[in-house]
Every structure is written in structure tokens, then in C-alpha cells.
């Protein structure tokens, strides 16, 4: 399979180019800003799906808690924006002006210590990556060094998603509770709610996504990518080839989490709020479904899968809101049973050979692609 992947590098590049054309040119021309902003929101989930390709598709580490890292990234961004929106002037009707509104409602009279550094944009941007990556490092090191993996790891990550949700909702004076952090307005004085800003943020999101895709591709094309496949197949063999397997797992899990966090931060900027409903078990599992539908072995597939499932979700839930979860569950079962390698697998395993046969039957026998060096 991976041999097929190495041989399909050109195909992958074409996929990259098509995605770039779609999100940078076609969609902005075809959609109004409301719909485009929705697409921008979907694209933020694609960051998570790409991370899942790395750690689940390649490393075999199924995390059912990626919402945690998406949420942590999003919250770090939201904390900065909220503080900027809560200037003394904006909040002079509060009993304690200058702190976020929800703190005032919860009788807090000063900014909690862990909020203070988020007054700085540079700190917040670093925190967007570092907070989730450190969380992932602690979890990953604790689990993988003890050789906890597979289903147990999945369950623990899921529990973590539940824990963080409960924590955020329960400590609403510090976190904004179930409503999340809302009413975000400006970034260094630049109003992010205008149509113009939404366009700009959409394109920033697109470029970051393309950069993330390239970074992921670099990792998978390196020897590290092949080691991940090896670990997935025969963990013991890798260990007895002299590798400290746990380090590789921790690394890829942290990288996937940093990708998810970047998505979360872009979500906050584009949608204008962050809430625990993007942290918990349901969104975490939805993100796994995005990757599964698109194909967990394909970066391009993961992005396409995310866009398609979310587009379907929007269409479907506009007409039959109560049926959407059933459709989603059904879709997941269908993918697992009928095409376990997702749309990308369908494309490379079914469609491509069919096209080749078609070409061959017309007498245009093409030579096989040159094997990898």
C-alpha cells in the first residue's frame, strides 16, 4: 500500500493542485461570503483530519480526542481576542470594568493569573501551538512509554475530551462555561467581523492549510513516514531494529495535535467564538469520520472528506436536522464496511486501475511508472 503511495507521488501533487485551485479560486468566485465563511469553518476541521492521517492512518494511533487540541488552540486564540474586546472602555457598565463579561457575571473581580499573558498577541500565538503540544506530549509520553496503545489509548483520549468539556463548563467564571468565549471583535484593532476581514481570514486559512498539507507530506515522504507504517504493522520489529518506538509515537501525536490547534485558532478567528461544543466527544469523533470518509491514508483525501461531509451536514441538517446524526453514523458504518480506505482508496484502488484498463484497451499501453529510486 505504501509502495503504491510512493509510486503515486505525482498523483498526490495533482491532488494538491486541485485542492488549491478549488479553495483559492473556484469557491471564492462561486460562493457568497456567508457560504465562503462556512467553507472556511470546514477547512479548519481539515487541519484536524490531516493530523489524523498522520497519527491514525500512518502511525496506527487512533485518537478520539482531537477536539481537545482543536479546542485548546481555539481557546488560546479566543482568550487573546476576548481580552482585546474587553477594554475598560467597552466594559464600563460592568461592576469590574476591563475583564471579560462572563467573569463579571460570575463575580470575579480581577483577571485570573493564567489569563494575564494572553494580553500579548505573540504569547497567544505561541500558546496556540505550545499548550496543545505540551498536553499531547504529556499524554503521549505517559501512554506510549508504558506501551499503552490501540483501543485503550482511544478510550483514554475520549475520556480526556469528556473531562476537558466538563472542566470548561464547570469553571465558567474562568472559561465562559457552556456558552464559550463569545463576542470577539477585533485583532489588534482590526475588526474581524466585517465581510472584508472574513475574506482575508478565509485566504489566510487556505494558505495555512496548504502549508500544513505540504508539511504533512514532507513528514510522510521522509523515512519517518515509513517508520510509522512499520510501527503500525510490526511494532516489535521496529523496536528490535534499534528504534525507540515511543518517541516516534509521541512526536507524531504532538504534530497532529499542533495541526489540530492551528485549525482551532483559525476557527475562532473566522467564526468569532469558541465553545466547549467543539471540544467534546461528539466533535472529536466527527473529525475521525471526516478522515475516514476521505481516506485515512491520504492527505488530499482527508481534506476532501472533511469538505464533503460538512457540506452534506449543512445541506442535510438544513432540511432534516433531527436525522443528521443517523446519517453520519450510517455513513461511518458504510465507510468501514464498504470502502475502508475512504474516497482516496476508492480512487486509487478502483478508479485508477479502471482508467488504466480503459487506456490499455484502446491500445495506448502506457509503461508502468518508474519504480522509486
Amino acid at each position: 500500500m505504501s509502495a503504491a503511495i510512493t509510486h503515486n507521488r505525482n498523483l498526490e501533487l495533482i491532488g494538491f493542485a486541485l485542492i488549491a485551485a478549488l479553495i483559492l479560486v473556484v469557491l471564492p468566485l462561486a460562493l457568497d461570503i456567508f457560504r465562503l465563511n462556512l467553507v472556511g469553518k470546514y477547512l479548519t476541521y481539515a487541519f484536524v483530519a490531516i493530523g489524523l492521517v498522520l497519527c491514525w492512518g500512518y502511525g496506527g494511533i487512533l485518537s478520539l480526542g482531537q477536539g481537545v487540541f482543536f479546542g485548546l488552540g481555539g481557546y488560546c486564540m479566543a482568550m487573546f481576542l476576548k481580552l482585546e474586546a474587553s477594554s475598560v472602555e467597552n466594559t464600563k457598565i460592568q461592576s469590574t470594568p476591563g475583564i471579560p463579561d462572563f467573569m463579571d457575571w460570575n463575580q470575579l473581580t480581577e483577571l485570573p493569573f493564567f489569563w494575564v499573558p494572553f494580553q500579548s498577541l505573540s504569547f497567544s500565538l505561541v500558546a496556540v501551538f505550545l499548550v496543545p503540544a505540551i498536553a499531547a506530549f504529556i499524554l503521549g509520553a505517559a501512554m506510549f512509554k508504558r506501551r499503552v496503545g490501540g483501543v485503550y489509548f482511544a478510550i483514554i483520549t475520549q475520556a480526556l475530551a469528556a473531562v476537558l468539556t466538563i472542566l470548561i463548563i464547570g469553571r465558567q467564571g474562568y472559561t465562559g462555561g457552556v456558552n464559550g468565549i463569545t463576542d470577539l471583535r477585533t485583532l489588534l484593532g482590526w475588526d474581524i467581523r466585517t465581510d472584508n476581514a472574513k475574506y482575508i481570514l478565509y485566504f489566510v486559512c487556505c494558505f495555512l492549510l496548504l502549508g500544513t498539507m505540504l508539511a504533512a507530506r514532507f513528514v510522510l515522504a521522509s523515512k519517518l513516514g515509513r517508520i510509522l507504517v512499520a510501527v503500525r504493522d510490526k511494532e516489535d520489529r521496529v523496536r528490535f531494529s534499534g528504534y525507540d518506538v515511543a518517541n516516534f509515537k509521541v512526536f507524531i501525536f504532538c504534530l497532529a495535535s499542533a495541526f489540530a490547534a492551528l485549525g482551532g485558532a483559525m476557527f475562532t478567528l473566522q467564526v468569532g467564538f469558541m465553545s466547549p461544543s467543539f471540544v467534546g466527544i461528539v466533535p472529536s469523533i466527527e473529525m475521525v469520520i471526516f478522515a475516514a470518509v476521505g481516506g485515512r491514508h491520504s492527505i488530499v483525501g482527508a481534506v476532501v472528506g472533511t469538505l464533503l461531509v460538512n457540506w452534506g451536514k449543512t445541506l442535510f441538517s438544513e432540511s432534516f436536522p433531527e436525522l443528521w446524526l443517523f446519517a453520519m453514523g450510517g455513513l461511518f458504518i458504510l465507510v468501514v464496511l464498504a470502502f475502508p480506505r475512504g474516497l482516496a482508496g476508492l480512487f486509487t484502488d478502483q478508479l485508477m486501475p479502471w482508467i488504466r484498463r480503459l487506456g490499455a484497451s484502446r491500445g495506448e499501453l502506457r509503461p508502468n511508472p518508474a519504480p522509486a529510486e
Binding site: 509502495a3 521522509s222 519517518l224 515509513r226 507504517v229 534499534g242 528504534y243 525507540d244 518517541n247 522509486a372
Partner: protein
């Protein structure tokens, strides 16, 4: 036990128990540099467990294992590998989704940490080394084939090749000819004779014909203990060995 040893590998008073069952009991085993040692014994004698203990997959309950006069009982598996111990598993343990080349490349003893793997360069030196190895293991024509397409015997060879490229001083092979055809067995025996010119080797094997064709010294294990040790003829003549093992 702190006394130093000239042996490449020295197991002294090694015991391991699983829930009170002693799989290996007060075992002493010494392997010389350049030696080919075959370990035989009935099922459940503890043969595979001994290899597991040496390579760190199972931790000893008691006793000392020294490799190149260095205590290795407390080391992690990958550190023992780095000292020069290579291990082949009973069922061929290769990366089915990768090509033969990639299987060997991963086993090349460089770039074994995260950064090294991320910025790995496939140099001419590595390609050359991989070509040398595939020639030895009779897989020159299958360099770019996904390993899952290989026959069972070829998978066994590939795993031996993956050990060789690690450049270990000691190779431990657990049933290397299991499931091989007669001609594959003969080729494997040739391969082993080539390998022992430059390596020490421990082989676990059931196939007595194969053992006869390669053995220098044979150790017979029974119930976690050494029952007999010596050259092939002496072992085959030993009444105790006949009773517990060869007679069957």
C-alpha cells in the same frame, strides 16, 4: 555476579517465572565470538523465552546476562540492539506494506531518532549496502516489490537480511527455516554458513536435518534448564536427550 567474562554472551543463573511458573530455571549459557550455537528442545522448553530474555523483550527475574562483558538485563530493547544484538522472530516479522528496499533501509543502523528519520537522506552508500544484502538473501530481483508479495521463505530471508544490515555481532534466529521448502532450506543453510564467517549466531530449530547441516555446538533445553551441551554426534548419542526429545 560481577566477575568479568571473555565470552561474547554469558547467561549466568538466569531464571524467569511467569505467575510462579519457571519458564527458565537457573540457566547458564555461554556463547563465544564467532560461534554458531543451535538450541533445540521439546515444545515449552523455554527456547524462545531465552531469546526474549537476551534481547530484553522479557525481563529476567534473577540472574545476569552479559553481552561483551556488559550487563544488559536492565537495558531497553533498542539499546540492546545498538550494542550489537539482532533478533529474528519465529514468524517472519517484516513490514508488509513497505518494499523490500524500504524494509532494509529502515533497518540500516543510522538515523534512528526522530530528527534523524525526518531528515534522512538516501545516500549512495546506503543504496549500495542494501544491494549487497539483497544479493546475499537471494532477493536481488525483488528490490521494489512490496514485502507482502514475497513467499513465506523469502520473508524469512528478508528478515535475516534486515538483521544483517544492522551489523550486529550476535544474531539470534528463531526457527529460520520454518515453513521453507527443501531447496529454500538448503539455500538458508548456505546463507548461514556465509553469515557465521563474520558473526556469532544463535539458532533455535526443530528441523534436525537442518541442524545437522549447520551445527557446530548444540544446546538441548528441557524444562527451562540445559539438559545437554556438545557437538552434534555427542548430543545424538546422549540417552537423556533421546528420551526427552529426539526419540519422539
Amino acid at each position: 555476579m560481577t566477575n568479568s567474562t571473555d565470552f561474547l554472551l554469558a547467561l549466568e543463573g538466569v531464571s524467569v517465572s511467569f505467575d510462579g511458573f519457571k519458564a527458565v530455571n537457573e540457566l547458564n549459557l555461554y556463547i563465544d565470538k564467532g560461534e554458531l550455537r543451535v538450541i533445540i528442545g521439546p515444545n515449552g522448553a523455554g527456547k524462545t523465552t531465552v531469546l526474549d530474555l537476551i534481547c530484553g523483550r522479557t525481563k529476567v527475574t534473577e540472574g545476569s546476562i552479559k553481552f561483551k562483558d556488559r550487563e544488559i538485563t536492565k537495558l531497553k530493547e533498542h539499546d540492546i540492539v545498538k550494542l550489537g544484538v539482532g533478533r529474528k522472530f519465529q514468524t517472519p516479522s517484516i513490514y508488509e506494506d513497505l518494499t523490500v528496499f524500504e524494509n532494509l533501509e529502515i533497518s540500516y543502523p543510522r538515523g534512528r531518532n526522530v530528527v534523524g528519520a525526518l531528515f534522512w537522506k538516501r545516500t549512495d552508500e546506503i543504496v549500495e549496502r542494501v544491494r549487497e544484502i539483497v544479493k546475499m538473501i537471494f532477493l536481488s530481483d525483488h528490490l521494489d516489490l512490496p514485502a507482502e508479495m514475497l513467499s513465506h521463505g523469502q520473508k524469512q530471508w528478508l528478515e535475516i537480511g534486515m538483521l544483517l544490515i544492522q551489523e550486529p555481532e550476535l544474531l539470534m534466529l528463531d526457527e529460520p527455516v520454518a515453513g521453507m521448502s527443501v531447496s529454500e532450506r538448503e539455500k538458508t543453510a548456505e546463507l548461514l554458513k556465509e553469515i557465521i564467517k563474520t558473526h556469532s549466531v544463535i539458532v533455535i530449530e526443530h528441523d534436525m536435518k537442518f541442524v545437522e547441516s549447520i551445527a557446530h555446538r548444540v544446546t538441548v533445553l528441557h524444562q527451562g534448564k540445559v539438559l545437554a551441551e556438545g557437538n552434534m554426534d555427542a548430543i545424538q548419542a546422549d540417552p537423556k536427550v533421546k528420551e526427552v526429545y529426539l526419540g519422539h
